[in-house]
Structures are given as structure tokens and as C-alpha cells.
């Protein structure tokens, strides 16, 4: 049955507290982290946690923040929205925490946002729903490019580099997929284009043949996709190829994740994806990936938590204070800061990144193709 | 020859024993009947014999061997077949299937022989012929009773335990059932019979035991029981 976990908020986050980087001093700089330790997205959660620890070690080795060592307080969000709310409510009770690292999932950020506003301390996060930084909540700082940019980058790539016009858009009906769909539609409209097919689906489908056949009969010359769950993407890819569709495909980041590639294998060869983190796209990313490999014997597929902690630490150091308003001002002042995900130029809303990389799957090897950056 | 010997049987289900030191013997070829009011322990005696009562003390000897503590499946394989009260026909199986399963205790029976015996049994109980393929739950009370007896006989038992076979049956059928009981005995099967209908029971039985609250009140031949005023008043409808 469907009870992977005690869904709902019946159970709160599992606690895992640890001092990073050999902090010895009694006084540490505490940063709260909401992360999935259990549940369906625990696996990416583990990588994100490893990444942030690498950042903490690096910062602590360099003398810490305002002379104090960083200590991470981690709460499990159980991969659910209610779990995230409970996890954050536990962190929020601890007055000594100066800032937070939130979730990569927009729906969890949406769920926690009211509490974050109430707490009034900076929260670095990775959710890519464009509206999150437009809620009038001054404490949210995004360390990944938002979906508005992914949509712009995808449309710019297919109309510019690929010179294709007839788009079939496949998207999950969840918040991520719907946000992506809206961004693509808006950007296509700006170019004076209309998609030949817009097809939503509900997550966790065993069969995508109706969607594949719809793509086939739509006459599209390019597929654009926003898949949330990796198995869905892989099932779709395999059925697409089995039913003989060879249309070029540009997808949201999940299409080139190691898990999806492992499931779909050659069905994804030759597909393009937008990617916020690409090791070869800049030296910071390369250095981080090397450090990660040295420690964990595998390659990271994301660097945003590393950036999140680095920027939060820089903000506190720049502000020379743990007072939230001062940290906020310092973070908003960060320009041209090299992160693993690109160059951070915070705008008034708290969005740090304004562009995406395009990558291609060359027989299971992810190659960096180009970076498309916007300044407005 | 003694087929069954119950010695000092004490048995129950939890809150105090139902049977309190009961002694009963059944000789081969006899029809023995147990009489008594509701709750006297008649059914519990039969259930103890067939292994359905978990906690018993005393001993039960069948052909001189103790069967105390054996599982019901094992006891029926020794040749003791129990037709419990309430008929207990499997509701989702047909009459034929119910009767066929009565032979489950007999090993190595070929399907062909089995089908033949079932045919024979169904013919023996005339009314069942037209009901052969009816599902158990659709039968009326008397029909159920007939199937239950037929099913019990399919075990080819040496000892047949019959619990209230006449319950809810029309007088004509009651007579038929008791004729069958007598017939069973004439074919060499020993019968231990529990009955409320003491008249009928004593009319076919060789001996009877009267139980009262788990103890033996009196035992003897039918005419002795008939003439016992105490028994007559309490269990045979009295003379008032």
C-alpha cells in the first residue's frame, strides 16, 4: 500500500545534529538545515547534505564566521510538505540559529514560507518556483536559477541554436511541472509561437503510451518536458523510443540526472537538458566536484547547498553581525560572486542566478554545451 | 470390546471447566446417547473427543490408545468422525463438494472411487439428488442436516459422533435420520449420539448417559432411564 512513511504530519523530523569541521569551541555559529533524510527524495537529500558539509568544513578551515565555527542543525523533512513545516518549526524554536538553508522543493518552501516570514531570519533555498521570491517575504534567497529562466533558456535554445518551432510540451501537473509549463508558454508567446501540444500528467504513472501517441500525432518537431519524478521520465523515454518517436527533446534538469539515465539508458541518448549545476561549466564547480569526489568517491549532481552556505557565511561576514536585517542587506549586495551554479548577482527579490547551462547526453556522458545568461 | 473409554475427563474453554470428571465407555457396535439440558456439557464431550477443546485433563482412550491432545485432523484419520451441532455446511461449496470433502481423512482414495461413493451417498439420501449442485448457503435447515450426516459418513468412521441430528427437522425427517442412525450401526459403525429429542434417542440407543452440569447423573439402558423418576422429571418432559 501507499504508506512509505507516516504521511501527514504525524511524525516530526528525525534529528541529526552534528558539529561540522571539528568545531571545538563552545560557541558556534548555528545554521539550521531542512533536508530530506527519509522518504522518496532522501537520496538527493544525502548528496545535498554532503555538499553543505563540504562547504562548512571549508569555511571552518578558513577561520569560520565572525571567528566562530559553523555548526549545522539538521532536521528531516521526510520528503513531505507537512514534514517540512514541522522540521522548520523545530528549528525556529532555537533562537541561537542565525540563518537557515531551506528546501530544493518549491512546494515545501511554499509550505514553510509563512513560518519563515514570522521567524525573520535569512533562508537560503533551492526551490525554483519563480513566485517564491515575489511573495513579499524578504527573507528568502534563492541559490538556483528560477524556472522563469529555465523556460527562457529552453525557448531561447530551441528557437536560437536548434531553429525549431513546433513544440510539444509535457509536464507534471504538480507545482514544479505547472510552473515550468507556464514559463515555457509565456516565453513562446513572446516569440509569437504557440505549442502544438500541451500535455499534463499525474506523477507516478506506469504507462505513458497515451502521451507518446499524442506527441506522435501532434507533428511536433521538438519535445520540451518538465518531469518531476525520475521513473516517470524514464518510462516516458523508453515508450517514446519503443513507439518510434525520434523527435529532439529538451528537458528540465531531471532528464539528465544520474538516476534517470540509469533507468532509461539509451532511450535518453542525444537529449538536451537545462542544468543549473554542470561540473565543466566553471572553475568553482570543478573545484567543488573534485573535493566531493575525494571525500565521497562519487560525483555530485548539485552544488546549490554548497553555494547556499558559502553565501550565507559571506553575508554574515560582510555584515560583521548576526543581526538578520544586516545579513539581508549584505546578501543582496553580493555581485559577481563565483558559485558552483554560476555567477551570483542578487537582485532586489533575492534571486541570485539568472541563467542556465544547456547540456547534452552523449551516450550517457553529460557534456556541457552552452551557458545562456540573462541580465534582466 | 471397548472402543472408547473416557476417564475422569475435565475440560473447558477458560472460565472454569464445563466437564468435571466424566467417565463414559462405548463398546464396539453400540449406539450410546448423551442426554441432558442445555449447558450440561454434552457437546463439549464430543468436542473434547474430536480434539477441539484445548485444555483437558483425564484421559480419552480410543481402541486402548490415548488420543488426548491429538489434533482434530489426526483423530478423524483414526476413524472418529464428528458431525457437530449447527450442521456447518461450507456455504460456498455445492452439496456434492461438501459431501466429497467428507472423505478428506481417507488417504490414497482415487478420484474415480471417490466420485462413485459420493454418487452412492447422494442416492442413499434421496432428497439430495436434485440439490447436488446447489450451494450450501441456499439449503434449508433439514437439507443442511442431511448433507451434514452424509458428509460425516463419507469418512467411513468406526465411531460416529452425532450432535443433535434432529434439530429443526420435521417429524418425518427425524424418523428418517434415526432410521439412518440405526442403519449406520447395522453396517458396523459405532455411534455416540447427543440429542435433545430423548424419546427418539432412547428408541434407537443401546445405552444412555444423563449429564448434569458437567457430571454424570445416571446411566443405563433406555428402559432404566425411562423409569428413573428423577430423569423423567428433568429431561423427558416430566409427567406434569
Amino acid at each position: 500500500m501507499l504508506l512509505t512513511r507516516r504521511s501527514a504530519l504525524l511524525s516530526a523530523a528525525a534529528v541529526s545534529t552534528f558539529a561540522a569541521g571539528g568545531a571545538r569551541a563552545a560557541e558556534t555559529m548555528k545554521i539550521g538545515v531542512v533536508s530530506p533524510l527519509t522518504g522518496p527524495v532522501a537520496e538527493p537529500g544525502r548528496i545535498q547534505l554532503n555538499s553543505i558539509r563540504i562547504a562548512a568544513e571549508k569555511i571552518n578551515a578558513a577561520g569560520g564566521v565572525l571567528g566562530q565555527q559553523i555548526e549545522l542543525i539538521v532536521e528531516d523533512d521526510q520528503s513531505t510538505n507537512p514534514g517540512a513545516v514541522l522540521a522548520f518549526s523545530r528549528l525556529a524554536e532555537r533562537k541561537e540559529i542565525v540563518g537557515f538553508v531551506g528546501s530544493i522543493r518549491s512546494t515545501q518552501m511554499n509550505a514553510m514560507a509563512p513560518d519563515m516570514l514570522k521567524v525573520g531570519k535569512p533562508v537560503m533555498f533551492g526551490g525554483t518556483d519563480p513566485t517564491l521570491t515575489k511573495l513579499g517575504n524578504p527573507w528568502l534567497f534563492r541559490c538556483r536559477p528560477n524556472d522563469g529562466y529555465s523556460g527562457r533558456v529552453i525557448v531561447s535554445f530551441i528557437t536560437g541554436s536548434m531553429k525549431l518551432k513546433k513544440v510539444a510540451l509535457i509536464h507534471s501537473t504538480d507545482a514544479f511541472g505547472t510552473g515550468g509549463k507556464n514559463a515555457i508558454l509565456a516565453n513562446l508567446e513572446k516569440m509569437g509561437l504557440a505549442p502544438v501540444l500541451v500535455q499534463g500528467y499525474t506523477n507516478n504513472q506506469p504507462d505513458f503510451s497515451p502521451v507518446v501517441l499524442a506527441v506522435k500525432s501532434s507533428g511536433a518537431d521538438v519535445i520540451v518536458s518538465y518531469f518531476t519524478n525520475e521513473p516517470d521520465c524514464a518510462v516516458f523515454a523508453r515508450q517514446l523510443r519503443q513507439l518510434g518517436v525520434r523527435t529532439p527533446w529538451v528537458g528540465s534538469p531531471s532528464i539528465q540526472s544520474p538516476v534517470t539515465r540509469g533507468l532509461a539508458k539509451n532511450a535518453l541518448y542525444g537529449t538536451y537538458a537545462v542544468a543549473d549545476f554542470v561540473e565543466d561549466s566553471n572553475p568553482t564547480a570543478k573545484a567543488f566536484a573534485d573535493a566531493y569526489r575525494a571525500k565521497h568517491k562519487e560525483s555530485p549532481d548539485s552544488g546549490w547547498t554548497y553555494d547556499a552556505l558559502t553565501i550565507l557565511a559571506k553575508g554574515i561576514n560582510d555584515a560583521k553581525s548576526t543581526e538578520p536585517q544586516k545579513i539581508r542587506a549584505a546578501i543582496l549586495a553580493i555581485k559577481k560572486f563565483p558559485g558552483t551554479e554560476g555567477e551570483y548577482n542578487f537582485d532586489q527579490f533575492g534571486d541570485g542566478l539568472h541563467g542556465y547551462n544547456i547540456v547534452i547526453n552523449n551516450n550517457d556522458k553529460i557534456d556541457y554545451k552552452e551557458h545562456i545568461e540573462f541580465t534582466d | 470390546m471397548k472402543l472408547l473409554e473416557i476417564k475422569g475427563l475435565t475440560a473447558g474453554y477458560g472460565a472454569g471447566p464445563v466437564l468435571k470428571g466424566l467417565d463414559i465407555t462405548v463398546d464396539e457396535g453400540e449406539i450410546v446417547t448423551l442426554l441432558g439440558s442445555n449447558g450440561a456439557g454434552k457437546s463439549t464431550t464430543l468436542r473434547s473427543l474430536s480434539g477441539l477443546v484445548p485444555n483437558i485433563t483425564g484421559d480419552i482412550l480410543y481402541r486402548g490408545q490415548s488420543i488426548k491432545g491429538l489434533k482434530p485432523e489426526a483423530i478423524v484419520r483414526l476413524g472418529v468422525s464428528h458431525v457437530p451441532e449447527g450442521r456447518r455446511i461450507f456455504p460456498g461449496l455445492t452439496v456434492r463438494e461438501n459431501i466429497m470433502l467428507g472423505a478428506s481423512n481417507r488417504k490414497g482414495l482415487s478420484r474415480r472411487v471417490l466420485e462413485g461413493e459420493v454418487d452412492e451417498m447422494i442416492t442413499h439420501f434421496g432428497d439430495l439428488k436434485r440439490l447436488e449442485n446447489a450451494l450450501g448457503w441456499t439449503l434449508s435447515g433439514g437439507q443442511l442436516q442431511m448433507v451434514a450426516v452424509a458428509r460425516g459418513l463419507m469418512a467411513k468412521p468406526q465411531l460416529l459422533l452425532l450432535d443433535e441430528p434432529s434439530l429443526g427437522l420435521a417429524p418425518l425427517i427425524v424418523q428418517q435420520v434415526f432410521r439412518i442412525v440405526a442403519d449406520i450401526r447395522s453396517r458396523g459403525t459405532t455411534v455416540l449420539l447427543v440429542e435433545q429429542n430423548a424419546n427418539m434417542a432412547l428408541s434407537v440407543a443401546d445405552r444412555g448417559y444423563v449429564l448434569e452440569t458437567g457430571r454424570l447423573l445416571v446411566s443405563g439402558r433406555p428402559e432404566e432411564l425411562w423409569n428413573n423418576p428423577q430423569v423423567r422429571a428433568a429431561y423427558l418432559g416430566g409427567s406434569h
Partner: protein
């Protein structure tokens, strides 16, 4: 038209999966009067065993499947011993709850041991499938349809034609009476659970190449298999297969011609419609209460 045929084939393939899982349900309902909410976990465990044997240990695919089926049969006994045996005289509801408990336990143990990521498994055949005109018949779906048909036939034969089947049914309907007839009740129950678990495991292994192996792989399928069981007729074997196929085809066509996001709703709307109009299902329920 070609699209339609393709969709019907896909629907039959998915429907055969529902039917396979549904068979396991029906078996436990018919032979032990147990509604097992942990049935989906049998499939999940079977698929993980195949992953361990084939992906991890490199044991040949078919041998791995056979081994997994055998282990699943054994697992069924343990499952019965823990969730069913202590509650066997207490009616349906306590057993349902304890199978729910077992379901939570198993999912989280597997989650703890293997993590949440999906794992791919190879297809049963190397050939991806057969192209007939415009219609592509994927080999794994063909295999599932064929195996489902065989198993349904086998199960139908056992229940309707053999003495073993009758003994299994008798045990389910009245355990005490069955024991009085000399039917080895414990053995019957053990056979039932072992077979049901093995069947569930096999279903899991067959769908693994299509859905990949993960803790949640069987969730929605199990619910729909349950719905298929009702649509076909509660506890009916031909009903399970027909209900499963009908559900698969209906929801695939519904997705193609009505709405993809509401695809899962079609199964349940169909179930609602059946309950309102023909509650006994396609094949009817065998036993009802007599006044």
C-alpha cells in the same frame, strides 16, 4: 485506428498486471478469507530479490526469478505466521489492520536497506518487441499477458476442478469444520499464503522492467488491482482477470481521449459506477447471507 489498437494493447498489458496482482488478492480471499493490504509488498519484495540476484550477484535471469519465487513462497509463510495466525479467529478487520502494519514495516525496512531510488532491471527477453504494422507490441507486455493467462487458467483449474481447491475453499469458509473432516487446515493456510506470496513476487518481477524497482512501485497498482477484483466480482477468479483487463483498457483509452492527468480517476470512477449499478461485479459474488 492504429493509435487505438496501440492503446488497446498497452491497456491490455497494464490490465494484465492488475489482473496478476488481483489474483493474489483473490486467492487469499477465497482460500483464507483474508483481505491482504500487504499484497503490493509481495510484489515489491519479489522485484528486489531479482535485483539482488541478477543485478548484484550476477545470477542468470531465469534462475534468479525461480530462486526469488521460491524465497517469496517461504516469505509468505513468515508473513502468515506474523500477521494472520495469531488473529485467525478474530474476524476480518484485525487481520486487515495487521497486514497494514506489515505493509508499513516492509516498506520501511526496504527503504532503510536499499534507499528510495528506483533501480532498473533487464527485460525478460532481449528483443524489445514485435512491430505489426503501425502497432508495436512490447515483449515484456506480451510476456505479462501470456503468463497472466496461464496463471489464471491454473488457478481456475485448481479452485474449480481439484479436490485441493475445494479443501482450500472449505478451510476458508469454516476452519474448525474443515479440521473435523481431516483437512490439514494449517497446511492449507500455509499453501495459500506461500502461493499468494510467490504469485505477488512473480508479478513484481514481471513489472520490474517496466516500472523499475522501488519501494513504492506497487502502490497504485495494488489499489487498482483491488478495484479490478470488485469490478470483476469480489473473490471471483475470471472476474479478477476480466476486471483487470477492462480497467487497464478503460483507463488507457480514457487517458488518450479524455484526460491524462485524471487517468487514475477512471479506474475509481468505474468502480463507483459498478458499485452503484452492478455491485456484485461482472461475475457476481458467490456467497451471500440467507435470511
Amino acid at each position: 485506428m492504429n493509435d487505438f489498437l496501440q492503446l488497446v494493447f498497452q491497456g491490455l498489458g497494464i490490465g494484465a498486471i492488475y489482473a496478476l496482482v488481483s489474483l493474489g488478492f483473490v486467492l487469499l480471499i477465497r482460500a483464507a478469507s483474508v483481505v491482504n493490504f500487504g499484497q503490493g509488498e509481495f510484489s515489491m519484495l519479489g522485484a528486489y530479490l531479482l535485483v539482488v540476484f541478477f543485478n548484484l550477484w550476477g545470477i542468470p535471469y531465469l534462475i534468479g526469478m525461480v530462486l526469488s519465487v521460491i524465497i517469496m513462497a517461504g516469505f509468505g509463510l513468515i508473513f502468515a505466521y506474523c500477521t494472520y495466525w495469531p488473529l485467525r479467529f478474530r474476524g476480518g478487520l484485525p487481520v486487515i489492520i495487521s497486514t497494514i502494519g506489515a505493509s508499513i514495516f516492509l516498506q520501511n525496512m526496504v527503504l532503510f536497506l536499499y534507499g528510495p531510488s528506483s533501480v532498473p532491471v533487464d527485460d525478460l527477453f532481449d528483443t524489445p518487441g514485435i512491430q505489426i504494422g503501425e502497432v508495436f507490441l512490447a515483449s515484456q507486455y506480451l510476456a505479462i499477458i501470456v503468463i497472466a493467462a496461464l496463471l489464471v487458467g491454473l488457478q481456475y483449474f485448481i479452485f474449480e476442478k481439484t479436490l485441493l481447491g475445494k479443501k482450500l475453499q472449505a478451510t476458508s469458509q469454516d476452519k474448525e469444520m474443515a479440521s473435523l473432516l481431516g483437512i490439514p487446515v494449517v497446511l492449507m493456510i500455509m499453501i495459500t499464503f506461500a502461493y499468494s506470496s510467490a504469485l505477488g513476487g512473480l508479478a513484481g518481477m514481471l513489472v520490474a522492467p517496466i516500472l523499475f524497482v522501488s519501494v513504492n512501485m506497487a502502490g497504485i497498482i495494488t489499489l487498482k488491482a483491488f478495484a479490478a477484483n470488485i469490478i470483476g466480482g469480489y473473490g471471483s477468479i475470471p472476474g479478477a482477470i476480466l476486471g483487470g483487463l477492462a480497467l487497464g483498457v478503460a483507463e488507457t483509452l480514457g487517458a488518450a481521449y479524455i484526460s491524462v492527468p485524471y487517468k487514475d480517476a477512471f479506474a475509481f470512477l468505474m468502480l463507483l459506477a459498478f458499485l452503484m449499478v452492478r455491485p456484485q461485479g461482472l461475475f457476481g459474488e458467490k456467497i451471500s447471507e440467507k435470511a
